[in-house]
Amino acid sequence: MKDNEIVIKISSGDDDVTLAFSETTKIKDVENAAIHELGFEGSSDGFELVYEGNTLTPDERPLVSFHIPNNACLELVATGQGV
């Protein structure tokens, strides 16, 4: 593992994937990487990353700004609304 790199497990419910990112990677790019690795259709607009109940927004912010630790488990949550 490189310096300033963290490993994250991301679960959508359908499946999960473990990926390594630089701490400065934008949340949006983490979402897109997970969507690609999990083989989903669509873009980051259809999902949001959640860590311990907190949605990681705005998605232009980097991982490090949300204090995501190494080996954290995040949820990739579909953005369907409750109405």
């Binding site: 679960s11 359908d14 109940g53 369907g80 609304q81 409750g82 109405v83």
Partner: protein, 153 residues
């Protein structure tokens, strides 16, 4: 003969069970089209159970109802979470296009007479929430969110 719905549920339930193991809650299978996710943790430590019935899924959305964890009694206020946002709807059901219980087509007290169950996956509010595991993840994260307040009774 195994139906299309049973095959879909079998496949998606495997993913739900894997996620449940990772998150520390349980899945109780009732029959080939019905299961209960038990001990869903909320942010204040209270636990909830969701009864999921999938007859005619995916042609129609599953039916999600809060229930008692042991008896599976449906929709008692003491087993129902409340909070902000549409998922903790005052009608006592997770209110979303992926829940059949939200449609007046399904029952008269449901909040949405403006939605059609057929083609539910194309409802403008559905987003990517089109599989049962994603629906379960959605409800888990809602219970952990600041929108959750506590029990309805």
């Amino acid at each position: 003969m195994t139906t299309q719905s049973e095959l879909m549920v079998q496949k998606e339930l495997t993913a739900v069970e894997k996620y449940a193991t990772a998150k520390g809650f349980q899945v109780a299978v009732v029959d080939t089209l019905t299961f209960v996710v038990k001990n869903l943790p909320s942010k204040n430590g209270e636990k909830y159970a969701l009864h999921v019935h999938c007859e005619d899924y995916p042609n129609k959305p599953p039916i999600f109802r809060w229930c008692a964890p042991e008896t599976f009694e449906l929709e008692s206020p003491k087993d129902t979470p409340k909070g902000g946002g549409g998922f903790f709807h005052g009608c006592g059901t997770p209110c979303a296009p992926w829940n059949r219980n939200s449609y007046k087509q399904f029952h008269s007290k449901a909040p949405h007479g403006d939605w059609n169950m057929e083609g539910w996956q194309t409802n403008s509010k559905i987003g990517q929430c089109t599989t049962i595991p994603r629906m379960i993840v959605k409800m888990c994260t809602e219970l952990q969110s600041e929108r959750y307040i506590g029990r309805a009774a």
